[in-house]
Amino acid sequence: MLGYPAHFGQIECLKLAASPLFSDKRLGYLGTMLLLDENQEVLTLLTNSLKNDLNHSNMYIVGLALCTLGNIASAEMSRDLCSEVEKLLGSSNMYIKKKAALCAIRIIRKVPDLQENFVQRASSLLNDRNHGVLLSGITLITEMCVASHETLLHFRKAVPVLVRHLKNLVSAGFSAEHDVTGVTDPFLQIKIIRLLRILGKDHVESSEAMNDILAQVATNTESSKNVGNSILYETVLTIMETPSDNALRVLAINILGKFLSNRDNNIRYVALTTLNKSISLDINAVQRHRNIILDCLRDADISIRRRALELSFSLINESNVRVLTRELLAFLEVADNEFKPSMTTKICLAAERFAPNKRWHIDTVLRVLKLAGNYVREEMLAAFIRLVTQTSELHGYTVQKLYASLKSDISQDSLTLSGVWVIGEYGDILVRGGNYEEEELATEVTESDVIDLLESILAGPFANQVLREYIITALMKLTSRFSTATSSERVKQLLAKFTTSIEVEIQQRAVEFTNLFQYDDIRPAVLERMPVMEVKETVIAGERLNSPASGSSGPQASAAAGPSDQDLLLDLMGIGTGGGTTNAQISAGAPSTAGSGQANNVDLLADLFGGSNISSPPTTSKPSAAAVNDLFGGLGSNSSSPPPAPVASNANILDLLGGGMATSTPATSPPAAAVAAAAGARPASANSNASSQNSSSQKFYPVYSKQGLAIAFTPQRDSTNPNVVNILTTFRNEESTSGGTIKDVQFHAAVTKTQQLQMRPASANEVAPGSNVTQVLKIANPQKTPIRLRLKIVYTTPNHGAVSDFAEFAGFPEGAY
């Protein structure tokens, strides 16, 4: 109570409320309302006195009780006193009726189940003449319709009644009581229009009934005063949300336009809000007002600025993106700190979606980083780096610009991070120099300059742990990019300083990198360029740009084949995730993958194949096939050149499976063109295993048997996932025909498009005579189509030399798997 704790008064208030004296009662209830709220346990003591008072003969006392109930009722109190309130709702006294109606609202809100009790009475309220009762009744019905859909359907019938009331109000003559500066009872009008909006939403019939009256209200209401404007506002909202006809919509938008140019701030605020809501309906109209909106961005009033900002973001599309972004960037410079995070995110998202060309995109993001780098979110930074790696032609440009901005200002966190990363990656381009643009010459930068810069950043006040880690990694990368020995020496010295750092991560990196200096032969390979990252739509929860219908291609535009959670892993291992970008870039990535160590990669690769096939809709299967082919290109199997332009995945498979060998590719393959998921078998130790894999519970299907190599499948449904079939592949060496150990066994398999294949590494790469080698294949078959496999088998036998063969297997019984 006015800031002071007032627990002592609570019991006193209750006692007062229970006393028979009216003045005491009045004070008591007032005190209760002020001191107590619904969560206090003391409130339950009040229930009894309330009950008595609700049945009192004096209407004022009843009124008091209803008032208290309506303001602070809790759930239990509502349940107890619900029947009383219902009875009062039916009383003939206006005063009581309207209070009871509003009380019912509170009860319904607290205990939604009790809503049905009130529906009957509420409809009768609509026919009352008294404005107060009508007002409360309409509020009650509005609340009920919002809460429950059936009530809404029930009250749709009341639309004509409402329309009639509204008509009376609008066309009635001057009535002194309800008049507010010339408009008859605007509150009632507004409430009716609001209820009409709720009832008419998505319902064409009711909307038609309302059309005339809405038009009448919209045209007749005087808009010079606030009252009129409030009614017009409500009307516009209703027109927007119900399926009304076009003339009305045009009328509404005109009204909004008038609002926007009104000098009163409130009205402008309201107009901006409504435009935001209606932008999905009619963008062109809003575009017309673009200039005014941009002016509002610079208004002194913060509420208007906020609204204008939101609206501007929704307005961005391909045609006006440059202009708008320029304005927004200018605004970013002067904006308050609370706006900055969301602004940076939205600007970057907009740039990504609508960038007319890459250079502009990079420029814009650079500006954002420079202006508000500290407020840029991580996802934006990642997107920026991704973008940089993709635009190889602009590498020089980007790195030059970043270098220049870093030299001038290292206070912005994200800017420094991205700058350091890019310099690390493309340091050689930086020192190479030369012109990169029509007029501008690249500034001459020497290697020691770059290292100086990095050193200064390290020593500077802004270097936090993450930044230091980045710098160390960048320094290492530079050693393989830069040619002079002095740079390597300097880097070694810098690293040596960190080998004793307290932070574990930094120390680890420093020590490992220092050791790496001893392995000069693989150092370049390890420090190779990062491959191009996939194009991904950056989605940030809650910060999506409001895209008008035209921009809905967003999510599909990514067309990424690689799953996002594999990204990080793959980046770490220096393997591209593939897919989405052009083939040319992927083949550029392929040689680099060839360089990376094979040894520890295959496990990951096995997961990859499972991973890279998931979530690729058929349309993107071509790029993913291409990518995967190239990946396997690096592993030394037979895919000769990168597959030709994605003609058909069929063609890809043929290429994969060995440059057009026509031996056993059945002519029926085209329709069933499969997504290739080839896997190479890994060298491993021989494993002597009893050849009798045909355990009693499992079937054994012979697949291929030539030149001494016999392959058989043993399928088994996976216990954990009913859609997955595990196939145990057994390679057996019949010594009689092969003549010795069969070496370099490679087994490639492909499944139909509706299935996904995952191959585990084989137990061995050589099959000694009489022994077996096993490999597990997992096939995910959610659509339960018959499993068919196309196989390519490559091996070398002493007797027959290198053999490469195709086979097809569809021998599983129909419907079994």
């Binding site: 003045s23 709220d37 004022y60 107060g132 009205i267 605020y269 002194a300 208007i304």
Partner: protein
Amino acid sequence: INFILVFNRQGKIRLTRWYQHFSEKQKSSLSQDIVTQILARKRGMCNILELEGRREARGKAIYKRYASLFFCFGIDWNDNELSGLEVLHKYVECLDQYFGNVCELDIIYNYSAAYQVMDEMLLGGHAQETNKKIVVKHCKGFDKLEESDSIVHNLRASNIA
């Protein structure tokens, strides 16, 4: 309407009414916040404030200044702000008519009457009666009832004695 705040130019709160449930801490922090924000606004600015940050009190605050007092209503996001301003104005008019030329002192000394008027006009956060005459009539009826009741009570007490 979620809450009502009336305060003067020095930031002292005169009347409050909370129609939604807020804890004590929330109430005080919210009021302080709003008071500081509104007092900082200049004359020509929009009467609508956006309250962000707090989850429960998300919404807008509309306010208007009358002489030395600020009246502030807190409303939901999708409520009609202009109509809220109208209700605010109506409330002040009712106060004016009831007290006859109301000023801040009236509200300080007769705050129960001010609350009475408020309760006659708004219940549970919704407007129940917008007719000035009726509102004032009922409030005066309350007063009369109270007087008559206390007279009866006193008589009875003196009789017994």
